[in-house]
Amino acid sequence: MKEYILLMFSAALVNNVILGRFLGLCPTMGVTTRLDAAVGMGMATTFVMTVAAIAGWTANTFLLTPFDLGYLRTITFILIIASTVQFTELVVKKVSPSLFQLLGIYLPLITTNCAVLGIALLLVDAKMSILTSVLFAIGSAMGFSLVLVMFAGLRERLAVMDVPRLFAGPPIAFIVVSLLALAFMGFSGMGAS
């Protein structure tokens, strides 16, 4: 049990997907202008990342590895992620059209989120079991959502600040995210002890 908790803690904070691995920077800058958008995107990414991790693990274990098709891994995973996003969109629409109206706008953006592909490839390289793969994916996605929400909160405050014109908009946002990355470096090494 302890190793599972450490795995999720490490994936969420120590090796944070945005601030530690520098993946998923496009949604980090694109959907963090409003807190509600960051929450919607974070939850949608968590769902897709987890389902894609299961599908990727299955494809790798039962198809790519036995038939020695490792060279097709990246393109297979891209296909899996795109299919997962479409599947999620269909399911949310079927489960509740009202929910789809509220949350549907975030789903297509996940197709091009490199964090989802990055985590799927990392899982395969680490040769994890299915349960640890899922826990690692959920931990990474929680870290991703945490940073999105924190950053959105900071940007909402920045929007009403008197920022010098030279730094207004994306420049000050990049400076803030770099300071966040420095703060997250404080977690370095915690997973190993």
Binding site: C26, G30, V31, T33, R34, D36, A37, V39, G40, M41, M43, A44, T46, F47, T50, V51, I54, W57, T58, T61, A82, V85, Q86, V91, V92, V95, S96, S98, L99, F100, Q101, L102, L103, G104, I105, Y106, P108, L109, T111, T112, S129, I130, L131, V134, L135, I138, V160
Partner: protein, 166 residues
């Protein structure tokens, strides 16, 4: 600094997430609206190179998100209006759509791994857990809809040139 000291914004009022939509159809006392493109997708500096365009056109996606409101304000086709949803609705909707199926998936997978210790059985249990979770999610979404939590509210007519980000 003085701007903040003299701010009159009422932070105790229920916060609303606002959006702009155009009336496309009137049916008796019901108005059908299509939301305008938000600031989060398609209107950024890299819109021309964005891969999400390939999944479907922005227009078709917005058309899919058509919704209706009560036409108490006598709206006409072509009018632009500001609508709102309560701030906590998005969180409730996200929990209903994503968190419930994920929790169910994880619970089923953990139990299967603990009981049988086989990756194949765990994977099957996770898929079963996901399906059950989606069923529960559907019930929760229906409950939220029945209570009217997910319904957008008409706030006012949009000013000429008003956009989501203005």
């Amino acid at each position: 600094m003085d701007e903040f000291a003299h701010s009159t914004q009422d932070f105790s009022a229920p916060a609303m997430v606002e959006g702009i939509a155009q009336v496309v159809k009137i049916e008796g006392k019901t108005a059908w609206l299509v939301p305008e493109q938000g600031s989060s997708c398609g209107s950024c500096a890299s819109a021309s190179a964005c891969g999400s365009k390939g999944v479907g056109t922005t227009a078709s996606r917005l058309e899919n998100r058509r919704f209706r409101i009560n036409n108490d304000a006598n709206l006409a086709v072509g009018e632009r209006v500001v609508f709102g949803i309560r701030d906590n609705v998005l969180l409730k909707a996200s929990i209903a759509a994503y968190a419930i199926p994920l929790a169910s998936l994880l619970l089923a997978g953990s139990l299967a791994q603990w009981k049988f210790g086989s990756d194949l059985i765990t994977m099957g249990a996770m898929i079963a857990g996901l399906v059950i979770g989606l069923g529960v999610s559907r019930l929760e979404a229906r409950r939220l809809y029945t209570r009217g939590d997910l319904a957008p509210l008409f706030l006012r007519r949009a000013r000429p040139g008003e956009t989501c980000s203005s």
